[in-house]
Amino acid sequence: MELARMKKVEVVIDNTHLRLVLEILESSGVSGYTIIRDVIGKGDRGTVLADEPSESFKNSYIFTICDEERAKSITSRIAPVIRRFGGACFLSDVEWLMH
């Protein structure tokens, strides 16, 4: 069993702009990512209810495990998306089970 020091990048963004975030992840060459759809919450742009009439107003929560360099690059490219459309993004340290 080998554990590698990696970064976890977590993003919350509305479903409408999920595609932009995924494009960034794909193009930065991460090995994978996980998406939890239809999460709700509260932020600067108000409350996201459980029964928004349009699904595009609900949030998605995405995380990816990648090396520090990629994490920094992803974060810097996500920054303008979040500045414009809202959402949240944060990083932390994890140990990744190599397989």
């Binding site: 742009r45 009439p53 459309f85």
Partner: protein, 322 residues
């Protein structure tokens, strides 16, 4: 407007269920309808009116009259968002004015369906081409809105990805479903319709009843946001639908629609989108505040039309046709 027309409208299971939903939301009941069920009802209703409308189109064929109806529909879909925008600009910034104007330029299928069910409860039917008219009116307002934005907003980059806007406007789920099922209904005609009528015909009013309970819950939860929209917008959310309806009825009179069609046309003009257009605005006009445009169409105009608009526009039409 006779008082018993209002009663006739309200004393219908669908409308009463709408109020039950609002009540449950107001008393913070734990009554909740999972979103996949909302989706079930709304998909069902769209498919049902599409297939039924198509079947009726197959019977009636295309005529000059129908082309006239569709032309009027397209006209109003272009004109309404423009004058709505200029009214809104009096008090709002460009972004919010665009988002709200686009919502009111488009339509609410559920309002249309509730009006159709009101017609049937007083013994009148509706024609398949009105569904086609509704479909035509769904998306132009999005394009008009974004055109107005390019003209009036001083954005560094316009930020509008026009390709995507067109794709999302004309291939959004309700447009695709309505166009698709209208076609399928037309192609499969009498035999096709009969085979699926028990689901898509017989259950129609029951499903609408179920769905309006859900809409009541959703609208009710947003009633609290009404104070945020302010008096100007509140007035707008009620006056504009009435104005649009009156204009619609006059155009219909001039173009010599029959009365049922005129009434439904006025409903289309009066109703505002709370699904497709807000979703498009979220993408292309993130500067606009959803708790203005969404609250207004969902928590003000929608309930107003369901409860008062329907009998009101119907009696206006009666005045001109009788």
């Amino acid at each position: 407007m006779h008082i018993d027309l209002i009663l006739q409208n309200i004393l219908n299971p669908p409308v009463l269920m709408f109020f039950l939903g609002i009540f449950a939301a107001l008393v913070k009941s734990d009554l909740e309808i999972p979103q996949s069920l909302s989706k079930l009802f709304s998909l069902y209703l769209l498919i049902a009116i599409g297939l039924h409308g198509g079947y009726e189109l197959a019977n009636s064929g295309i005529s000059i009259y129908i082309i006239k109806v569709l032309t009027m529909a397209s006209l109003m879909a272009v004109v309404v968002p423009i004058y709505a925008f200029f009214i809104l600009k009096i008090r709002l910034d460009t972004y919010n004015a665009v988002a709200i104007a686009a919502s009111y330029g488009s339509i609410s299928a559920v309002t249309f369906i509730t009006a159709a069910s009101f017609l049937s409860s007083i013994g009148l039917g509706y024609s398949g081409y009105m569904v086609a008219a509704m479909t035509l009116m769904e998306s132009p307002a999005i394009i008009i809105g974004l055109l107005l934005l390019s003209l009036f907003a001083r954005r560094a980059d316009s930020g509008i990805r026009w390709g995507e806007v067109f794709r999302e406007s004309f291939f959004n789920s309700s447009v695709i479903l309505l166009v698709g099922t209208l076609l399928i209904g037309t192609l499969t005609g009498e035999k096709g319709w009969k085979s699926i009528e028990p689901l898509f015909g017989g259950l129609f009013k029951g499903m609408l009843t179920f769905f309006l309970l859900d809409m009541g819950l959703i609208a009710g939860k947003r009633l609290g946001d009404i104070k945020k929209v302010g008096a100007f917008l509140l007035g707008f959310g009620i006056a504009l639908p009435v104005l649009n309806a009156i204009l619609g009825i006059f155009l219909a009179r001039i173009a010599n629609f029959n009365m049922s069609d005129a009434f439904l046309f006025s409903i289309l003009c009066a109703s505002a989108s709370y699904i497709a257009v807000p979703a498009a605005m979220r993408m292309s006009v993130p500067e606009a505040n959803p708790s203005l445009y969404l609250t207004l169409s969902l928590a003000v105009t929608f309930p107003f039309n369901i409860a008062i608009g329907i009998p009101l526009y119907y009696s206006l039409a009666s005045l001109l046709w009788n």
